[in-house]
């Protein structure tokens, strides 16, 4: 009984407490630790309390559509454009990028190629083991896009579909001695635990562009629109941009800016 009263009070407290700012992002971004690094500085400067929710790309956009998040940090340009077109967002700012790389077992050798299509073609023709996330994430969408541009449909025992997040997919690829497409930051974070190396990188098609989207405030009066705008201001502040571009895991830089801070 006491517990029940307590829970009711807690519910009440949650309703009464000042609005928090909810940022929905993808796990791959969150796992780099960048946002946890920026959070205290934003909170100190703007006085909002920031809550970061890390989910898959699809779920992050869904949070936006249902007005459960005030601002999104995502990296799936096609979906983002659709999201904006449908009127779910009022502001979209692309500000940083990193890239996808193809990784595989470090004892394998492959001929050097120029484009990502050539590499995928080599895997397809030789039926080299390849692990796909198969979870409709940004990374998976990029992979599908490449297969489509080759007019090939991967299938067979060599094509392993995990339905898991990037970290687990990398571990499975390591286990199966297989190739996979991954974002660079997740790979770098896990590199020491894997017997894998980068086989292909640097193709402009593999750029991974990150954008902030402010959710349309007309969706719900509970949305923290002011806070969302403040967050955009904070990110676009030259000081913050410099911190982002200097942010690294170990000795490797994780993100590049799309424009030079003045």
């Amino acid at each position: 009984m006491k517990k029940l009263v307590f829970v009711l009070l807690l519910m009440l407290a949650c309703v009464c407490v000042a609005k928090q700012l909810i940022l929905a992002t993808t796990t791959s971004v969150y796992n780099t630790g960048l946002l946890d690094f920026l959070k205290p500085q934003f909170e100190k400067r703007y006085g909002h309390s920031l809550s970061i929710v890390a989910v898959g790309t699809g779920m992050a956009l869904e949070y936006g559509k249902r007005a459960d998040a005030d601002i999104l940090l995502v990296h799936s340009p096609e979906d983002e454009l659709l999201f904006m077109k449908e009127g779910h967002g009022v502001l979209r700012v692309s500000f940083m990028y990193n890239d996808f790389v193809i990784v595989g077992p470090d004892d394998k050798t492959v001929p050097s190629v120029r484009t990502v299509q050539e590499f995928f073609d080599y895997i397809y023709e030789n039926k080299l083991s390849f692990v796909s996330r198969a979870d409709e994430s940004g990374t998976h969408k990029k992979e599908k896009q490449i297969w489509k541009s080759l007019n090939k449909v991967p299938s067979g025992a060599w094509y392993i579909q995990t339905g898991q997040d990037m970290a687990r997919t990398l571990m499975i690829a390591d286990e199966k001695r297989a190739f996979t497409l991954t974002d660079r930051s997740t790979f770098l974070a896990l590199k020491n635990k894997l017997n894998m190396k980068i086989f292909f990188e640097g193709d402009p098609q593999l750029l991974n562009i990150y954008s902030l989207i402010v959710v349309n405030p007309s969706k719900s009066d509970r949305l923290n629109y002011e806070g969302a705008l403040d967050f955009v201001r904070f990110i676009l502040d030259p000081a913050t941009l410099k911190m982002i571009s200097a942010y690294s895991a170990g000795e490797t830089k994780l993100f590049n800016l799309l424009f030079e801070p003045k």
Binding site: K3, V7, L10, V15, T27, N31, S51, R66, D68, R222
Partner: protein, 219 residues
């Protein structure tokens, strides 16, 4: 270090509150269903038994849709709070506690119920008698449900959001640490989780034993 401490405290709070509330709902419910005969009784029992197999993630999704701002209870602002996580865990635990308790209650000998009646027990007292006769089964039910929710991650991830300092608990932090390659931290959190589960098991077992041994009547 202080981070894992804070996460552990939240884990204990969420799991224990959830298990307490579900116990106070599910055990009396099982007693009532056991005591009264009504037409849809078998259906209710089957329903709860089926619900024990429901994937926790699905419960999480339903609670999310309920508390989402566009959802029916969106105005409460409970999404991404520990209250929402508690609710999801309650929904996972209730069918488990109910089903295990009911199966123990229904195994009580019909003759014992007749004896309670003829010795003058009221309906409520008969229910309490059934409860006391199966107290071991009830403890078992609570511990099983606790085991299930203490290691549960899918549902709390969806409704809680694994927000640092707000809704991050041990299981969700293990997923996060694993994905970040911080395997040491993940294993550390796992060890704390096991320790909590172990302590709760010990506590409940000791408590129920001492209830059993209570002898207020000795000279």
């Amino acid at each position: 270090m202080s981070e894992i401490f804070e996460i552990s405290i939240r884990s204990i709070y969420v799991n224990c509150t959830a298990i307490l509330i579900s116990t106070f709902v599910a055990v009396p419910l099982a007693l009532i269903v056991d005591f009264f005969g009504f037409r849809s009784k078998r259906f209710v029992i089957l329903l709860f038994q089926t619900l024990t197999g429901i994937p926790p993630v699905l419960v999480g999704l339903l609670v999310y849709l309920l508390f989402s701002r566009k959802g029916p209870l969106g105005n409460l602002g409970l999404l991404f709070t520990s209250t929402a996580m508690i609710l999801a865990q309650i929904l996972i635990a209730i069918p488990i506690i109910f089903s295990i308790c009911y199966s123990h209650f229904s195994k009580i000998d019909e003759k014992l119920r007749v004896i309670m009646k003829t010795l003058g027990a009221t309906g409520f007292q008969q229910m309490m008698g059934v409860f006391r006769e199966s107290s071991v089964g009830v403890v078992n039910a609570i511990l099983t449900a606790f085991g299930r929710i203490v290691g549960e991650v899918g549902a709390v991830m969806i409704v809680g959001g694994n927000i640092a300092g707000r809704t991050r608990i041990l299981t969700t932090s293990i997923v996060l640490y694993t994905n970040m390659g911080r395997f040491d931290d993940a294993i550390m959190a796992g060890a704390v989780l096991l320790m909590i589960a172990f302590s709760v098991n010990v506590l409940i077992t000791v408590f129920s034993d001492s209830m059993e041994k209570k002898k207020w009547y000795t000279r």
